[in-house]
């Protein structure tokens, strides 16, 4: 029983507090999106590529954050967002010019806003002084003291304490709708002029009007004065417009929602019946970005029943975020709880195992010769793979948000080191598994900081060397042969090999007389305990070096290499698996144990003749087409057997390690090549040296997935290294 109980627990326990909390979480999730919009907009403007819509979207992002924050009484956040918003409004209405200086402050403000949101989420507080300083600067731009507008704005957010209602999240609705412009009129006069583009996008006026008619009584007049003669008529043109009088109880935004998908492709003027017609187009934009702070009207609250409102809040918010995005051409998306996706992925994992199991059963039953059975099985296999790939695609997300965060790191790092650095992003729409994206954040931050701190030279030095003053750090992502390649490169001085070597010698990492190739020296950077900058800088020297980066990347099954050209800069290349859940592997047997070797590290497999294998000290080497390559006996190295593998009857897998070193491993036989589902050993146990993870075979037994690089490394250092966890010593 306890087992069942345990499984059920996470799904129960749904009370109001949770609902409230979950709505707040949704707000923070949306904040993330909005902050991204904000930052990308500001960066566009900074690059001089922004247009009116960019500033509008930037403004909307800040406005929406302020509105939502107000609903949750996050006063610090509201206070700052308010003045930020006002400044943006000044720029939007051309009263303030978006100079480089202003944009720098705006970017800093966006950073601070991010910190404030983070602080609100974590329940902490942010650096007050910094916030006050920025608020003063912003206030300086718009020529108003920082305090006055905030103070007047604040009361708007705390009227008629929502607690009395017993249902706080309701406020959210108003917070997000922002316009506060509740239409009490009993209808609207709508002027609708579609453009040819709207028809080209497959929308039809007739349908739009039909759905509109469902909102209430409708009187429609078609304006056809613009209709040309038949000879001049463009068959795909748009010549008609409509005047609609709609009598409805619904509010203006419901009417607008009807035109949601065509709003960019038409002229739409909606005026309350008997109201004053709004002169400018498109009206929607204007309403949304109305700068007046969110006003909550108590009487509206009273007439609405709180309960059904929950759903409405959700849907409205979603439409709001959708329209708030500058890129309205994006396909429709839904938010899914990650747990559900993970469950689906686990199930697919089980399916893959089951499929393997079934295949084995069929073979065992002697049915595999039957063509209908075998073709059915093949189809099943194909389908399983397709499903698995589709499920993985759900988790895939563009690296753009992660990359964008890096531009912030670059700004901070550049100002801390007084360098001028520009971050260039490439391939930011490359999609990567969500888990990988998350785990990439720390190592990437570190590498970017390093690139700015150690890679890029000081402006004076750059000019001296005939380079532009502004250094460039490039961050790129791409799919390449079933892997994701992420590169961080700088156009700095490159690795100072002399110094790196000297430091390594000083720190006893290598022998003084070690004969190292250039790439060997570059790779010294990844050694534990190595840090090139002698004085610990505020930025990257925190006692952790590139070895931490390397380990973090290895922990998600990736590898990182460095290449460097003196005077030209360095490039760090990270290659990552597409997914963390399933891996293509080769099933091998050694000393009676079944192991999985990741296919990505295998270069070739060969059956050696015993005379190709030569002992060398306590290790052996193998002659592969004239080259001697270190050979590791897997069964022996892992301690499965004391006996060395019989070289008359074995298979050699030629391996290319992380560091680009060729090596080979010896096993008894190769069983199969197949997809395996990765199961973590850490969940219920802990890290096992030389073993990357486990998987479940068709017969239900567990096979271990080999960490080939680690195995080869360990075999290389015969004497047990102090780096290895001392499990047995306990």
């Amino acid at each position: 029983m306890p087992f069942i109980e345990w499984r059920l627990k996470p799904q129960t326990g749904d009370n109001t507090l949770d609902t409230m909390e979950s709505i707040k979480q949704t707000f923070f999730q949306e904040c993330e999106d909005l902050l991204q919009d904000l930052e990308s907009g500001l960066i566009l403007m900074n690059d001089g590529e922004g247009d009116d819509e960019t500033i509008n979207s930037v403004f909307r992002a800040v406005h929406s954050i302020k509105g939502g924050a107000g609903a949750f009484e996050l006063t610090d956040l509201v206070k700052f967002a308010h003045i930020f918003e006002n400044t943006l409004d000044e720029i939007r209405s051309d009263r303030l010019e978006a100079t480089k200086e202003v944009l720098t402050v705006l970017l800093q403000s966006s950073d601070l806003l991010m910190d404030l949101v983070e602080a609100a989420r974590e329940g902490g507080s942010c650096n007050e002084e910094r916030s006050q300083k920025l608020m003063d600067t912003l206030a300086g731009f718009i020529g108003a003291p920082a305090e006055t507008p905030t103070e007047t704005a604040m009361p708007d957010f705390e009227p008629q304490s929502m607690d009395d209602m017993g249902f706080q999240p309701l406020v959210m609705d108003f917070g997000f709708d922002g316009d506060g412009d509740d239409q009490q009129a009993a209808g609207f006069s709508i002027h609708f002029t579609p453009t040819a583009k709207m028809y080209a996008h497959g929308n039809e006026t007739a349908r739009l009007l039909a759905t509109l008619a469902s909102l209430g009584d409708m009187k429609t007049t078609c304006e056809h004065a613009d209709l040309p003669d038949f000879d001049d008529l463009e068959p795909e043109g748009s010549y008609l417009s409509w005047d609609i009088e709609l009598t409805t109880e619904n509010e203006e935004e419901d009417v607008r929602e009807n035109f949601e998908f065509v709003e960019d492709d038409c002229e739409l003027i909606i005026t309350p019946l008997g109201g004053i017609s709004l002169p400018e187009l498109p009206v929607l934009e204007d309403l949304e970005i109305e700068p007046t702070p969110v006003a909550i009207e108590p009487e509206t609250l009273e007439v609405k029943a709180p309960e059904p409102e929950v759903k409405k809040t959700e849907t409205k918010k979603n439409t709001e975020t959708k329209t708030a995005k500058p890129n309205t051409g994006a396909p429709a998306t839904i938010r899914i709880n990650l747990e559900r996706v993970d469950r689906l992925i686990n199930l697919v994992g089980e399916l893959v195992i089951n499929q393997a199991m079934l295949t084995e059963c069929v073979v065992d039953a002697g049915l595999s010769q039957d063509p209908s059975v075998s073709s059915g099985l093949d189809e099943f296999k194909q389908l399983t793979r397709d499903i698995q790939e589709s499920v993985m695609a759900i988790r895939a997300q563009p690296v753009q948000p992660l990359f964008q965060r890096m531009s912030r790191i670059v700004r901070k790092a550049a100002s801390a080191t007084e360098k001028s650095v520009k971050l260039v992003l490439e391939g930011e729409f490359t999609e990567v598994d969500k888990t990988i994206v998350e785990k990439l954040a720390d190592p990437l931050t570190h590498m970017i900081r390093n690139a700015v701190d150690h890679g890029i030279e000081s402006p004076e030095k750059r000019v001296e060397n005939g380079k532009p003053e502004e250094g460039i750090v490039t961050l790129s992502a791409a799919h390449r042969s079933g892997k994701i390649i992420i590169e961080v490169s700088d156009d700095g001085a490159g690795v100072n090999r002399e110094r790196v070597k000297q430091i390594a010698i000083d720190k006893n990492l290598i022998q003084e007389d070690a004969n190292l190739s250039d790439s060997d020296i570059d790779n010294l950077l990844f050694m534990p305990g190595f840090s090139t900058v002698e004085t610990i800088s505020t930025l990257s020297g925190r006692g952790v070096g590139m070895d931490v980066v390397k380990r973090a990347i290895q922990s998600i099954g990736g590898r990182v290499v460095i290449s460097s050209t003196p005077g030209k800069g360095s490039t760090f290349t990270i290659s990552l698996p597409l997914t963390l859940a399933i891996l293509d592997g080769m099933l091998v047997t050694t000393a009676g144990q079944t192991l999985v070797v990741p296919l990505t590290s295998i270069v070739e497999t060969l059956i050696p003749s015993p005379e190709d294998i030569h002992p060398m000290g306590s290790n052996s080497v193998i002659n592969i087409r004239g080259t001697f390559v270190p050979l590791v006996d897997v069964g022996h190295e892992l301690g499965f057997t004391q006996e060395p593998t019989d070289t008359n009857n074995c298979v050699v897998l030629s391996i290319m390690t992380d560091d680009g070193v060729q090596s080979a491993v010896l096993v008894d036989t190769i069983q199969d090549q197949r997809q395996v589902v990765i199961k973590s050993l850490e969940t219920n146990y802990g890290h096992v040296p030389c073993i990357a993870a486990a998987t479940i075979l068709g017969d239900g037994r567990i096979a271990l997935i080999l960490d080939v690089d680690h195995l080869i490394e360990q075999a290389g250092q015969r004497t047990p290294s102090p780096e290895l966890p001392q499990i047995a010593a306990e």
């Binding site: 306890p2 802990g686 096992v688 479940i696 499990i727 047995a728």
Partner: protein, 157 residues
């Protein structure tokens, strides 16, 4: 809360499952036990302490099997189909404990659990949380926290 539930958490004391390792009797709080199953062959984990038998597949999750006899330095178990695996929850981890046989369910008041006698044995200090005297028998209450190897912060630099 229903009456039944009240009864379940009543003052009747805690329930323990007792089992044998060789001649010795041990017990574990029933709330830490997820299920009890027969022995299945485990996949050997290289580079692991000798008391870790290996890992098994329990409905899709990979869990380690600890030979409790070996862990408590009593003897080495030659696992056979007559042995039993007690699946326990230790913190966030699920671990299987290999024992000779499961004997009883005990209901014990907290106050009859005596502190571990000071026998200056590392095993006793690390793994035994107290002893229960019951009908001339001595049953040691297993402290589960230290059963798994103490992983040094993974691959510490």
């Amino acid at each position: 809360m229903t009456e039944e539930a009240q009864h379940f958490g009543s003052t009747d004391g805690n329930e323990f499952i007792s089992f044998c390792i060789g001649e010795q009797e041990y017990c574990i709080d029933i709330m830490a036990i997820r299920e009890i199953r027969g022995w299945t062959p485990a996949t050997i984990l290289p580079n692991s302490p000798d008391y870790v038998q290996g890992v098994i597949n329990l409905r899709g999750s990979v869990l380690p099997i600890v030979d409790l006899a070996k862990r408590l330095q009593i003897k080495e178990t030659e696992p056979s189909e007559r042995h039993v695996i007690i699946i326990t929850q230790i913190g966030t981890q699920i671990v299987g404990l290999l024992v000779d046989s499961v004997s009883d369910i005990l209901t014990v008041q907290d106050d009859i659990i005596q502190p571990t006698p000071d026998v200056a044995s590392e095993v006793a200090n690390a793994f035994i949380g107290g002893v229960i005297a019951l009908d001339e028998r001595m049953i040691s209450v297993l402290a589960l926290e230290n059963i798994l190897p103490n992983f040094v912060e993974s691959e510490a630099a």
